[in-house]
Symmetry: C2
Subunit: 319 residues, 2 copies
């Protein structure tokens, strides 16, 4: 019964979200059409929409209500931000990936120049959402936190840059580990990089935006004081749990399930939880974090079932 | 006398601006240092600062006052936006340039991956400036216009994408024109692309942001109604004049003076004013546009000398 209700919630919110994303994107027919097609390709027709659903669920939990239309531009902002980061991270100079959401990556489809510009356009569009008239009462409050979660030194971009820097270091210390068939599980051999470093990278690379989905969604839903702190703390744990699960899936899953290339972390000497502590301990850690987040959210919010269910799924997801 | 006063104004505002830019950028010592060094390299130690100076001058003209500290984060936002666009435009997949502001371009200095991320970081930082506490009363009003000027379909990014698309078209229609020594002056032979197309690209590629410098600076200075319309209309003309002058300098100047590589437009089949109407007519057109802007600004604002002087310089600049 609980799952049926949640499935209906998810279906309704996803449908509304897809319509809002489509509406907020520049029309494919408008000039410059090449840019707009690349932007739309990078957003539409795929994606689990985890971040915007978390944002909508947090807003509704905070408000103790049904759909909050004013949270939708914020939810779109998080999805545009996510899609921009995927397009740029997939570029040849970065992760050099060919597959994303089960299709060719943006630069494989449209060329590098348009992929770079499309990412720039989606980042710009993400910020534009915060200025949407429905969000006006919160715009000045949301903007600094959104920018911090997206940027540096505490946000996604810092995590991405630190990830690259750490993988270069690990690559040097691991010598030929990447060429070994066992590299996927063994990780950088003799690496002196601690779990604390990986955790710090993960908290910025993925955690900061996930946390912002919960806190800023909460702000639009009217959360203040202690309730806002609970969303922040739960978002923090959930963000780390999410990235640990991502690390595990990169080792254990396949391209058809993931819709992106697995095994990338090992090939690129990325620092990951499974590389440092193994798959079992990683999954356990993700579960502990998610459980902690769930407990705090459940204690604090009375009408938070969709948010709680999303949290449960995040630690158990298989793609 | 007028020039002496203006020189003092420019020196004072530039000094304050450089300090504000330095302060707003993440510290080079903070992790991830590689990203922060690349971001700082892309902003500090060079640049004419035309956009932020226009923004400050417009704010002061609108307020009829001296320095307005609350306009400084907005001025920084425009410079960060400009620097991000230079870093990304210089990338191998786009203009593939080696020289900028008299130094190696960001990707030549730090590699492509960091240059892409540094550009992303500066775009994020530009938006973050709009959320600065000093700008709070205007944040919700500024954000949509700033995003529109930066993005697509009416802003800088649209102009950049249209420019690329048009140069591909021109390259096809020009056949081997780019190999001819006269290509720089003759432009795409047999091109059916009209001056209207070039004008439309220029208005977006450069004009939209220059116009926003004047209008949003004006907003912070308290301009409303007709006075705001004058800033918009003058910014529109000035933005086009600025890009026409840029086109001319690309043909007539040298790397030492420009601090960037000249002759790029012809080599890349870019659509330009001099290619279509010649250098003399281009300079004349830029002067007519700048004069029109000057006349309207002079009629409307009593204390606008720095703004007027900046406008005079823009149409006469040699770098």
């Amino acid at each position: 019964m609980r799952n049926t209700l949640f499935a209906a919630w998810r279906e309704g919110r996803t449908r509304a979200l897809e319509a809002a994303l489509e509406q907020a994107l520049p029309a494919a027919s408008a000039a410059p059409a090449s840019l707009h097609k690349a932007m739309r390709y990078g957003v539409l027709g795929g994606g689990k929409r985890i971040r915007p659903l978390l944002c909508l669920a947090a807003a509704e939990a905070a408000a103790g209500s049904g759909p909050l239309p004013e949270a939708m531009p914020l939810a779109c902002a998080f999805e545009f931000l996510h899609c921009y980061s995927l397009i740029h991270d997939d570029l040849p100079a970065l992760d050099n990936d060919d597959l994303r959401r089960g299709r060719p990556t943006c630069h494989r489809q449209f060329g590098e120049a348009l992929a770079i510009l499309a990412g720039d356009g989606l980042l710009t569009l993400a910020f534009a959402q915060l200025g949407d008239s429905a969000l006006r009462p919160w715009t000045a409050q949301l903007l600094p936190s959104f920018a911090a979660a997206a940027g540096t030194p505490e946000g996604m971009l810092a995590g991405q840059a630190a990830d690259i820097a750490a993988s270069i270091t690990a690559g040097i210390s691991a010598n030929s580990a990447a060429d070994s068939p066992a590299a996927g599980r063994a990780g950088p051999s003799g690496a002196e990089i601690s779990l604390a470093t990986v955790t710090a990278i993960h908290r910025r690379k993925t955690g900061a935006v996930i946390r912002a989905c919960l806190t800023l969604g909460g702000v639009v839903g009217g959360a203040k004081g202690k309730r806002l702190q609970v969303l922040e703390s739960a978002g923090n744990d959930l963000g780390l749990a999410f990235q640990i699960t991502d690390d595990v899936l990169d080792v254990t899953s396949d391209a058809a399930t993931l819709g992106k290339s697995p095994g990338k972390d090992a090939a690129q000497n990325k620092l990951t939880y499974p590389a440092l502590v193994g798959i079992g301990a990683s999954l356990q850690q993700a579960q502990i974090l998610a459980d902690a987040a769930l407990a705090r959210l459940g204690e604090t919010f009375e009408h938070a079932e969709p948010l709680l269910q999303l949290c449960r799924e995040l630690a158990r997801r298989t793609k």
